[in-house]
Amino acid sequence: MNSESLPRRRARSGHANLTAHGEPWVWLTASSLALAIAMIVGLLSLIAWRGLATFWPVPLELVTLADGRRVFGEVTEREPLEPTTAAIAGHPGRRLVRTGDFDASGNHFEWIDDTLIADISQPEWATVVERLDAGRLHGIPRRLRHGDRVVAEGSVDVGEAFAREHPIARGRLLRAVWIDKHERGELQRQRHAARLAVVQAGLDAGAGSQRQSEAERRERQLAGEIERREQTLDEETAKLRGENAGWVVEFETASGASVPVPLDGIVRAWQPNRLSLAGNLGVYLSRWGEFLGDDPREANSAGGVFPAIWGTVTMTLIMAIFVAPFGVLAALYLREYAGRGPVTTAVRVAINNLAGVPSIVYGAFGLGFFCYVVGAGIDDVFFKASLVADGQPTFGTGGLLWASLTLALLTLPVVIVATEEALSAVPNSMREGSYACGAGKWQTIRRIVLPRALPGIMTGLILAMARGAGEVAPLMLVGVKKLAVELPVDGTFPFVHPEREFMHLAYLIYDVGFQSPNSQAARPMVFTITFLLVAIIALLNVTAIWLRSRLRRRFVSQHF
């Protein structure tokens, strides 16, 4: 062949060359990915930064205004004024101060123009006092009294005496609260159970029957005993509270007034202006500890979120327990047994469409079906006495079980679709190999197909759990409450209470952030709760991913 007879090929234009190499497409795709990563990283780091910073102590500033008024607080925000206003007035900006003097001023926060400020100082003994109720107080400790006796006078001595006396007083208070909540609660439960027994006997054997009078006799007997035991408890708590009574710390607030605070009413007090790094860290960790381990205080805007963590995790796990077998079995039938045809296709399309139904619709379904039909039916059969005696439904209202089931329905399509994908990814040669060994269909599925598809099924479950744990709208209808301190799992027989209402972190974000009377103060809490929710979902996912990678190592070959 003569090479000269062939026409020489060359690029016709720069444009053709560009398209052939596809350079712009690399940029387009890469920039899309970069944008997505930037958004995710930006959002997560904002949440992490604000969430983690919430509990770090901030210096207290004593701001003296030109008119002589004094404001004492943490500067939480600064902003420049509108340029035009600034030009007219000639001042640079304003700051938002968290005053901690709600009792006197009626404000938690105050905007202060920089021009109006005469003096700013950071008093060494400026103290943040977290009170059990009535919110924060910013002031300088002046004296510690026990009744009329002054135990300590002056900031330094009060600080020492406080460090000595506060843990004791607080311990007594916590003991009294424990008695009220648990031991008294137990007696209440017994009394209630006896009352229910009477009503039940009346329902079973008729009013005034032998059985009912027997139950009434037992109730009276029990009531006497309970009264005696309650008296002992009363005495004990009265003694504890009496020992605490009279202990008062007096603080001088910004306005110069002296505010007495009961010693056992102080959750925590710290002097941010004189704290070392270690001291800061101590306060920080102590506040985190309370946040993770305690019940909420003050309309959820302070204290801990332990019930919500518990509720979120329990609900997500119960949901996973329901949705996994259900979804996998459905997908198995659809992929392995059902013949190919219009019906199968229609079912598959319907399942895919279910994934697009707004979640509130599932909530409405859960309320209408689980609570009002199934739950009411259960109440009618098993909890009639409670219904009659208290007028309160047991299962016939929102609760952990119904919320979990509703979310299981919501996430079912995710699991089915993912499982189907995983099943269809199992090579047919494996199925044939198993059949050739004389295995039946179910043996093949159980021993070959399912183990091989397990990593893919886990992926579906991970997606479902992430979706379920972050869902709020349906939960509002089927059992999530603003405050539910009684956990669904506790030490009271029968230990698991699936009918109880519960708290949920995602709902807490909505409640604290947008329903709180003191939303400005609650805002850092919202970031912290969001951070916590993201962290919990990440933790659940990481666990599942770790599990999946273990399975994958076992079942999928990397080399050939």
Partner: protein, 303 residues
Amino acid sequence: MGSGASMQSVDRARQDIASEAVSRPGEPPQDRLIAVAAGLEVEAEVHDGVLKEPPVLEIDRFNLWYGTKQALHRITMPIPLNKVTALVGPSGCGKSTLLRSVNRLNDLVQSVRITGDMRLNGDSIYDPRMDVIELRKRMGMVFQKPNPFPMSIYENVVYSLRIDGETSRGVLDEVCEMSLRGAALWDEVKDRLQDSALGLSGGQQQRLCIARAIAAEPEVLLLDEPCSALDPIATGKVEDLIQELRGRYSVLIVTHNMQQASRSSDYTAFMYLGRLIEYGATTDIFTKPVLRETEAYVTGRFG
């Protein structure tokens, strides 16, 4: 399409091709092949030697269709007991289909329809009363690509016993060792029986599949191009293994590789477009075939 006139014209064209093929002397002798391609039936040339052997499996006038397309045409051939029988032929000639019909794996394909029958030691395979699961337990099969199950080496070998509900550790251990020794794999894996089978090399995986196939003491062993996905060394090992299995098992092997067929089989069947063309002792097929078409194929002149 599909009208009577066009069908007739196709038939005429086929006859033209056939007559042209026969009437052209001097060219490579492919007249039977062209006749087969034109859709004509051709009688298979089965040597007497094959018919004298006691058969383990008898294929009797077996036809198979995928939908409306016929893939096997009246295959009639006995498979001799305890001998290695190779099926050769160009791609798409129905070798694998025939093999998969023996243990009824084609049942899994919805559009398959068959007529005729096969008999395994006298039992009709396609008898409606035949339990297909029990039938498959009497055969072992090895596929083109190694397909070890996602479990340990040990569990792979004893799989067919496990699904039968065998739980005795002693029995399982014994069968595992015997099968792995039978598949010439024991020395390589005896120290890691509990490791994943997916960690083995391709050749080891294929011998593991053979061990799995012989674990249940099959009456006939079906090998579907067992070396096509292996490198030459692994191929050599599997071929050696087939030599060792010779005499102990009845082996039916599909292969694309003429050397493999000539080296490792006792009998060879040449198939073309779903028909059996010639079937006889391997030495005869490769050195003095009755048909020129067979000679042309085994010497590599087409296919």
